[in-house]
Amino acid sequence: MDDPITHRTFVSYIDRTRDFYAAQGYDEPYRWAHHSEVPFTRPAKPLAESRLTLVTTASAFRPREVKEGVLRGGKEVWSGETAVTPERLYTDDLAWDKETTHTDDVDSFLPLTHVRAAASNGRIGSVARRFHGVPTDYSQRRTVERDAPEILARCRADGVDIALLVPL
């Protein structure tokens, strides 16, 4: 057994974020999505016959889009080709641990190289032509009503069977 503990060992980002913004003078804490009901769909086919896509919260790298001195990620759903791993994606506007690590290795958060290998070795049927990017929106309504339906439509257009979703 490891050493006994008095606190949980994983970070609560809900607690940490609330306290961090309160320290900056924001009185109203962010209200996180919470559901008691969760949908569930079993895979219709074996993985070896399934087409997989990936969804990321990163943005395409567009170095010229600097606004008020800050480069902003896209505000709309976007798609990229899965055949080649992009050299880099834009993540500076997202909340991740910039003191500890970096995101220069795209496969560390969007493992295109490794899912292509899984298709080559027969673990999955194929990788869909496109992966998709979804903006991290403060508004859950925009995510639910605008972005998620757009991702679903693009998945259906590409004949996707299963999806690997990766928030940074």
Binding site: Y13, F20, T41, T100, S108, R123
Partner: protein, 121 residues
């Protein structure tokens, strides 16, 4: 992203989330969640660590295949190689930083106010 997983799943596409913000994902409620207890930014493993990244892709595919109920969470059998100091460091509020944070918040609100005014002009 958890909201997207729910929408795809309800639309008939099975999903698995691989991520490191366990409470945010689990409170939202998703069908399948592979939890990496890593700093936010590299849920598949450290930059350059291709073997861990590949292994975590394999675990994600296993989870897609094996889960029989929604809210299935599995934790990857890897620890962050640089130790666990990052857990206390992320978004910490040191007493000596409190004033700095308060000022940063004020500056941000002022800038948001200016942007709002420009948009309404």
């Amino acid at each position: 992203m958890s909201l997207v997983a729910r929408h795809l799943e309800a639309g008939g596409i099975p999903t698995v989330i691989v991520g490191s913000a366990r409470d945010i994902v689990e409170e939202c409620g998703v069908p399948r969640f592979l939890f990496s207890d890593f700093p936010l930014g590299n849920p598949f493993g450290a930059p350059g660590d291709g073997s861990t990244q590949r292994a975590i892709v394999d675990h994600a595919l296993d989870l897609l295949e094996s889960a029989t109920l929604p809210r299935t969470t599995v934790q990857v059998p890897f620890a962050w190689s640089g130790g666990s100091d990052w857990k206390d460091r992320y978004a910490r509020i040191d007493p000596e930083r409190a004033e700095e944070l308060r000022r940063a918040g004020e500056a941000r609100r002022a800038q948001q106010e200016r942007s709002k005014q420009r948009r309404s002009e």
